[in-house]
């Protein structure tokens, strides 16, 4: 994995999105957004329901074909090199399940084969240790609690040691203690591998803790962006939660960055 990471210059963004646009019939879900996500850090994609976060993530994963614009991931065009890139990425969401009747171990084995992992048994043992899944390995996925399922989904997403991890509400439905250990694990993983994370979350405590960069979306457009501290200061609020509510209800405070997120070339 190191060699592939090194193929990008340190300053190159891990995700480069230019004028990304998606329209479903008459509805514009994502309206020409541009942003960059820094390599080796966590970028949070925030916004209320219907803001366009899930559509954006689906396009970044290649599950959804954009109506326009360009996505470059790890230095390669996503639409042209999707399958090569998918080996270097992964995704976790509590809203996308794994097969219910398979045990946790069987699920991880299937996905390990899909990523063509070497030493799969030892990799599963390692990830089980790291995420404390030992007791769950031989239990059916469908019999697990919501929190346990989230941990298994995260284990699946880390199986291939991705350079880019896309997480959709990774700690939803977890108790505070488990959520904290998940965040700690993600931070350790990031420090160990230099991986980048794109995080969609409604948990602002999580965002403040993990994200170096925040992109705020509303009605398919980027309405603001910056570090959590900078946004809190700019909106004269006490926390990201208050900033989120303000933007979700009122839109951007100024016209600083309409449609364009951090480091988009036109704003440089």
């Amino acid at each position: 994995m190191e060699s592939t990471l090194n193929s990008l210059a340190a300053s190159d963004p891990v995700i480069k999105v230019d004028a990304l646009f998606k329209q479903f019939d008459q509805v514009i879900a994502v309206n020409g957004i541009s942003f960059r996500a820094e390599r080796g850090h966590t970028t949070a994609l925030l916004g209320g329901n219907g803001a366009g976060k899930t559509t954006t993530i689906a396009m970044l994963l290649g599950l959804l074909i954009p109506s326009g614009g360009r996505i470059t991931i790890l230095g390669e065009d996503l639409l042209l090199n999707r399958h090569r890139l998918l080996h270097r990425m992964n995704f976790s969401s509590p809203y996308v399940d794994l097969p219910q009747r398979l045990t946790v171990k069987e699920n991880l084995t299937v996905y390990g084969h899909l990523y063509r992992l070497k030493n799969l048994k030892s990799r599963i043992a390692q990830i089980s240790d790291e995420l404390n899944l030992g007791e769950l390995l031989n239990r059916r996925y469908g019999r697990l609690s919501a929190g346990q399922k989230t941990r298994v989904s995260l284990a699946k997403s880390l199986l291939n040691e991705p350079e880019l991890l896309l997480l959709d509400e990774p700690t939803a439905s977890l108790d505070p203690d488990t959520a904290d250990s998940i965040r700690t694990h993600l931070e350790q993983y990031q420090q160990r591998t230099g991986a980048s994370i794109l995080l969609a979350s409604h948990n602002m405590t999580e965002v403040e803790r993990m994200a170096r960069q925040v992109i705020m979306m509303r009605k398919g457009e980027i309405v603001d962006s910056g570090t959590p501290d900078a946004l809190v200061a700019k909106y004269k609020k006490n926390s990201m939660e208050e900033v989120f509510i303000d933007i979700a209800r009122n839109g951007e405070m100024s016209n600083v960055s309409s449609k364009e997120g951090p480091n988009s070339e036109s704003s440089q």
């Binding site: 479903f24 899930t54 559509t55 689906a58 994963l61 290649g62 599950l63 959804l64 074909i65 399958h83 090569r84 998918l86 080996h87 990425m89 992964n90 995704f91 969401s93 996308v96 399940d97 794994l98 097969p99 219910q100 009747r101 996905y111 899909l114 990523y115 063509r116 699946k156």
Partner: protein, 270 residues
């Protein structure tokens, strides 16, 4: 807003009915399914009746002709269902999103579906064929090598149809589940499983001869009645199967691309 509760509420019953009427109103596959089975059954048994009126000694002429037809028909049915059911499993478990953010390619998915269909068909039809030996003193394996040719042609046609159905499921979600079970039966009267193709009305004959299965069942009857293997029928079936399987693959890929354009891989369901 306190509402007095009653143990049996017509309004609540109405709500349940309404919930499914809403669903039916927006789902043409569900509406189609309601009229589908009665129509198909009526057409199939109508043709059988017409044929037997004039050929009452047909069954007596060849031992096991109906059993052979049923077992070979099941190759077609199970082969198609094998692909559709595996795909349905992924939809039930809401797993498609995870599958297609892995490096899995649609072509690999198709190959996996075909292998699973083959396994399911061999187990299902193989088991039934073995049970028929002690139960009816009928051994379909007595057909010998032609049986392999019949099997392969039927299962390949089944894969073509199964892939189209998998594509429809991807595009229309669980609303099209009924089609997965029922679609193949629309072809049953036309591919002349239980009677010769000549029984069909003239306007249906061109359609019948476009189905590889029609040639297989004609070949099967020729083998059972005349003890001759008609290689021409099998060659025609094989050539038609190239078109059927090729079309099935292309249609699945087209539906897959449509699903990626509409964002259905993350949300395919009801």
């Amino acid at each position: 807003m306190a509402v007095h509760d009653i143990p049996f509420s017509p309004r609540r019953i109405g709500a349940i009915v309404l919930r499914h009427l809403y669903l039916m109103r927006t789902s043409w596959p569900r509406l189609l399914e309601m009229v589908y089975w009665p129509t198909v059954q009526m057409v199939l048994w109508g043709f059988i009746s017409v044929f037997l009126q004039h050929n009452s000694s047909y069954i007596a002429q060849a031992t096991g002709v109906l059993l052979s037809a049923v077992l070979l028909w099941d190759v077609l049915f199970r082969g198609q269902l094998g692909i559709a059911l595996i795909f349905l499993e992924e939809i039930y478990s809401r797993n498609l999103g995870h599958l297609f953010v892995s490096p899995l390619r649609p072509g690999e998915m198709i190959c996996g579906l075909i292998i699973l269909s083959l396994i399911r068909t061999l187990i299902g039809v193989g088991g039934a064929s073995i049970v028929a030996i002690p139960l009816f003193h009928f051994n379909i394996f007595d057909m010998g090598l032609p049986l392999i040719a019949f099997f392969l042609n039927l299962v390949i046609m089944a894969w073509g149809i199964g892939l189209v159905i998998a594509g429809v499921l991807l595009r229309f979600g669980l609303g099209a589940e009924g089609i997965a079970w029922a679609a193949i039966f629309a072809l049953q009267p036309i591919c002349a499983v239980f009677y010769p193709v000549s029984t069909l009305p003239a306007w249906l004959l061109p359609m019948a001869w476009c189905l590889p299965a029609s040639h297989v069942f004609e070949g099967m009857r020729e083998l059972l009645f005349k003890h001759t293997f008609n290689s021409e029928q099998l060659m025609t079936a094989s050539l038609l199967n190239i078109i059927w399987l090729g079309a099935g693959i292309l249609i699945f890929l087209a539906f897959f691309r449509a699903a990626r354009q509409r964002g259905l891989l993350l949300q395919v369901g009801e």
